[in-house]
């Protein structure tokens, strides 16, 4: 019994871990996570091969009976969650080690880590709205505790609270949505959703679906609900950020997909809504990612971008179903699901690499770095691979999913009637731009951090990147990335059953699905690699004969030390910034160079999040001002306290009299 087993593991862990040494806590966590992962993965795998697991708990008076169902969709997400959690826990056990003196804190950290894992898994399989909400908030709280691991810094706490509140708002939206349904049907089970929503008017159906979309969108990070991500990721420890942007935000995607399955609504309208929002999300995310100077913030914005891409996939899928075009539908949903997996892979890899650097320098400011590839060769190469993957370049996994989404889009372009095709072409433009901007962004990130020469004096560097706790998970992820890039057909086979839940296709490789290309893609990527290898081999063959002389970079005649003259991150993206200035909001303050012999001059840019400013910061400020207006109430004056009572009673005595009086006047 999966649930019981997981419970037992958690209980055991909670009991034992406080008494272990700080060093062993990590290993205990690894063991526990692995155990949970193995157990749940078993059920997931059999579900992917068509043997769903379902059982029913009696539940309590509050919840009603709790139905547990492990269907392929849930299984797919469970596997993603498990994989990322395993890598994350291994990496974390090494990452945390430097904090070993604060044992209590570490205990809390690992316990909440385990809770987060369990609750995420449970969210995938539970089919009862009350329990769902409870688990949802358990997940939110535990991840919140994970985020504030370095809570000694007050800004970390601030970021954590920000995250907590925003996820709570999400819960409220979901609560309203669930209550709306629950007020109609007498149970909290997901199974009644369909009938309820079928009975609604189309408008209400749309609003209901939008409620769910907003609620889950907060977790997933669709604009305008994204603003917690860029604050939370820099605050959190790297393995946590990896886990969060790997799987935590995916649970939002899961929720949306699940509701697409459970509810009845006009698929097309929802499809277009999701599609448009997702395009905007993707563009917005990458556009802001480029101008970030903090590596983790940059990665956070890229999570937003990738959520956008996934969303585009989902949108296409919905539209495909709406138009009865199973090719498009399967391409869309397959792309979305696969990209969910892919993003969880390369994004966690990126965060782990960032962690290796952060552990060394305790800074994430890109401008400080340079030439790190000489100190962190493994990290650098892995970062490069992940960047290529996230840019969706062949022969890596990102390309496969984006390719499917492209195919779906082109397919839809020919299907849709006139005004709507514009949406599709907009999506194409968006996707292409996203790809291009991503390249700009990651050439910047990789180039500035790892290449060139250091832009600031490094303190004594004692590299610890080769510790197995950081290398093993990273290379594991890398292998999976390559595997998906080169042999996607294997994973497509696993996607078959989840796809069948959304589309009417019975056999993924039926030519009707248009997924047959995916087999070949891997093969072509192989060819690409082969050619590259061939050329490089040739080169080495030739070059080996003639000896290579090493000399300093050509400085256009300038012979002094040119390190300070290197292009910085902000100068690298200056052209772009100029171009996108009207859309973005960048606070600049600078000191111009003046005089013939100018002394120091500086120029700072602080990228702001326009949507956050407009939709969250400003309204909050206004509201708080409004609240402060009323702070005269508790003024310590006894007379006033008595007066309040008088006023209150007077209100209810005189108002009715007054009203009746007025009535009497107007009646005659």
């Amino acid at each position: 019994m999966i649930v019981a087993a997981i419970f037992v593991i958690i209980i055991l862990f909670v009991i034992t871990v406080p008494f272990l040494k700080a060093y062993h806590k990590g290993n205990a966590a690894i063991a526990a996570v692995a155990a949970i992962a193995i157990i749940s993965s078993y059920y997931a795998v059999i579900a992917l091969f068509g043997y769903d697991t379902a059982f029913i708990f009696p539940g309590s008076v509050v919840t009603g009976e709790i139905k547990i169902l492990i269907d392929p969709l849930a299984a797919w997400f469970m596997l993603i969650i498990n994989f990322t959690f395993i890598t994350s826990v291994v990496y974390g056990s090494g990452y945390i080690r430097s904090y070993h003196e604060d044992r209590a804190n570490i205990t809390l950290h690992w316990i909440s880590f385990l809770l987060a894992h369990a609750s995420l898994l449970a969210l995938c399989i539970v089919r009862n709205s009350v329990v769902f909400l409870v688990l949802w908030e358990v997940m939110a709280m535990s991840t919140f505790l994970l985020v504030i691991f370095e809570g000694r810094k007050s800004q970390v706490i601030k970021a954590g609270i920000n995250y907590l509140i925003q996820s709570h708002v999400a819960v409220l939206l979901l609560t309203i949505a669930f209550l709306w349904i629950a007020s109609g049907v007498k149970s909290y089970s997901f199974d009644d959703f369909r009938d309820f929503s079928a009975a609604l008017k189309p408008g209400s159906q749309y609003i209901l679906m939008l409620l769910f979309f907003a609620g889950f969108g907060f977790k997933a990070g669709f604009i305008p609900f994204h603003s917690w991500l860029p604050h939370t990721h820099p605050a959190a420890p790297s393995h946590v950020s990896g886990m969060m942007s790997g799987v935590l935000i995916k649970i939002g995607i899961y929720g949306i997909l699940r509701m697409l399955l459970e509810l009845t609504f006009d698929v097309k309208t929802i499809g277009y809504t999701i599609l448009i929002i997702s395009i905007l999300t993707g563009l917005y995310g990458v556009m802001l990612a480029i101008i970030q100077h903090n590596l983790k913030r940059l990665l956070a914005y890229h999570s937003i971008e990738n959520i956008g891409i996934i969303g585009i996939g989902i949108g296409i899928g919905c539209l495909g179903t709406g138009m009865g075009n199973s090719v498009m539908a399967s391409l869309g949903f397959a792309g979305a699901l696969l990209h969910t997996l892919n993003h969880s892979l390369f994004k966690s890899l990126l965060f782990y690499s960032a962690g290796n650097i952060n552990r060394q320098f305790h800074s994430m400011n890109i401008e400080k770095f340079g030439g790190l590839i000489k100190y962190f060769p493994h990290t650098a190469i892995l970062f490069l691979i992940a960047s290529l993957a996230i840019c969706g370049l062949p022969p890596f996994n990102g390309f496969v999913s984006e390719f499917m989404i492209y195919m779906g889009l082109f397919n839809g372009t020919s299907m849709a009637p006139f005004p709507n095709t514009l949406v599709f072409i907009l999506a194409v433009i968006g996707l292409a731009l996203i790809g291009g901007l991503a390249i700009l962004c990651f050439t910047k990130a990789f180039g500035i951090i790892f290449l060139g020469t250091p832009r600031s004096e490094y303190a004594s560097i004692n590299i610890n990147e080769k510790h197995w706790t950081s290398m093993a998970p990273m290379y594991l992820v890398f292998m999976v990335i390559m595997a998906i890039g080169l042999f996607p057909q294997v994973f497509m086979k696993w996607l078959q059953l989840p796809l069948q839940q959304f589309t009417d296709i019975t056999q993924v490789y039926a030519p009707a699905t248009g997924l047959t290309i995916i087999n070949q893609i891997g093969f072509y990527s192989l060819i690409f690699i082969a050619i590259a290898a061939l050329v490089f081999a040739l080169r080495t063959l030739v070059v080996r004969k003639s000896k290579i002389t090493k000399d300093s970079t050509w400085g256009c005649g300038y012979v002094g030390n040119a390190d300070k003259m290197q292009y910085t991150a902000s100068s690298y993206i200056r052209n772009y910034r100029k171009l996108a200035e009207p859309l973005l909001q960048v606070r600049k303050n600078k000191m111009e160079v003046k005089g013939i012999f100018p002394d120091e001059a500086w120029h700072h840019t602080h990228p702001l999040d326009r949507i956050e400013e407009a939709l969250i910061k400003k309204p909050l400020k206004i509201f708080q001002h409004f609240l402060f207006r009323f702070s005269f109430l508790q003024n310590g004056r006894l007379q006033f306290y008595v007066l309040y009572g008088l006023v209150f009673m007077g209100l209810f005595v005189l108002l009715p009299l007054l009203l009746s009086f007025i009535n009497r006047i107007f009646t005659n």
Binding site: G435, G452, W554
Partner: protein, 301 residues
């Protein structure tokens, strides 16, 4: 297979022709059309000097750059003859393969830690990023007209008959040429013959490459030219039989090269700041193509 060979062949004399035209236009006799190839071969034999600051990236990048372009070349069909590889959605692969190559090109420039190469790569990355959508829209709309998603099928099915198709073909050709210029950072956006690093894009990125690597990069750009030439050929002579296509192709290549030569000798390059706008113009042009496509398939009339 055929197309691949043709492209290789064309790539040998393409930039030679350009140089020849330019020198004739400027009243000189000019070198033979195979001069560039000879240069490249000479470069292959030369020893290379490598900057101390560079890393492994700098050494593998040129090979991958070339590989990406070769990969792209294999995807291009020729008349009724397929390309070496042809599959639905291959033009997506085409674009992304080129992008991959560019990625490495850029980071290898950054690897040297020189301010000029940083500058060049920044410009290059911005321009190519802005160029991406145009290509996709054009191919997408061609696909919309024909209902296919692979180069070969699209071009064979694309039939130039009506007024709209003339317009489409014209615009598309223009876009392809411009894309090609941007890819190789030639005249309107960049002038390879300029001697001020501050105004270069592509040339300034390869300042530190030398010997074999430089040769590779040089040849890569030749190859790119002939690839785009091949695309243009296909656009017009999509479904002509194989034997007939060969002369057409060579003809087109020559015309293309001369055209570039004339452009480069009679036009002045844009100010660096204006390049971005110019590239965006391509996107809007490609939207025109899309509208035309919509008209053809009768969704918009």
């Amino acid at each position: 297979m055929l197309s691949f060979l043709l492209i290789i062949i064309a790539s040998l004399f393409f930039s030679g022709i350009i140089n020849r035209v330019k020198s004739i236009a400027s009243g000189r006799k000019g070198p033979g059309i195979f001069q560039p190839v000879k240069d490249i071969i000479r470069l292959f034999r030369k020893r290379s000097v490598i900057s101390k600051t560079t890393s492994i990236i700098f050494q593998i990048a040129p090979s991958i750059y070339l590989a990406s372009v070769i990969m792209a070349a294999m995807l291009v069909p020729m008349g009724q003859g397929k390309g070496l590889l042809s599959f639905p959605g291959d033009f997506v692969f085409f674009a992304y393969a080129l992008a991959a190559g560019k990625f490495f090109n850029i980071i290898s420039a950054l690897d040297t830690g020189s301010s000029f190469e940083g500058m060049g790569s920044s410009r290059e990355s911005l321009l190519s990023m802005l160029a991406e959508p145009a290509f996709f829209i054009v191919m997408g709309s061609l696909g919309l007209i024909t209902g296919y998603t692979s180069f070969h099928e699209i071009f064979t099915a694309f039939y130039i008959g009506s007024h709209i198709t003339y317009a489409l073909a014209a615009i598309t050709t223009f876009i392809f040429i411009m894309l090609c210029m941007i890819e190789n950072s030639r005249m309107p956006v960049d002038d390879p013959k300029t001697h001020l690093e501050l105004t270069m894009i592509h040339e300034v990125m390869i300042l530190d490459n030398s010997g074999f690597d430089l040769g590779l990069i040089m040849y890569t750009s030749c190859l790119k030219f002939s690839i785009y030439g091949a695309l243009i050929t296909n656009l017009f002579a999509g479904n002509t039989p194989v034997l007939l296509i060969i002369p057409i192709f060579l003809l087109v290549q020559v015309l293309f090269a001369t055209a570039i030569g004339f452009i480069e000798s009679f036009f002045a390059r844009f100010r660096m700041g204006h390049n971005a706008q110019f590239v965006l113009v391509l996107t809007s042009l490609s939207l025109m193509v899309f509208m035309g496509a919509l008209m053809i398939v009768g969704k918009l009339n």
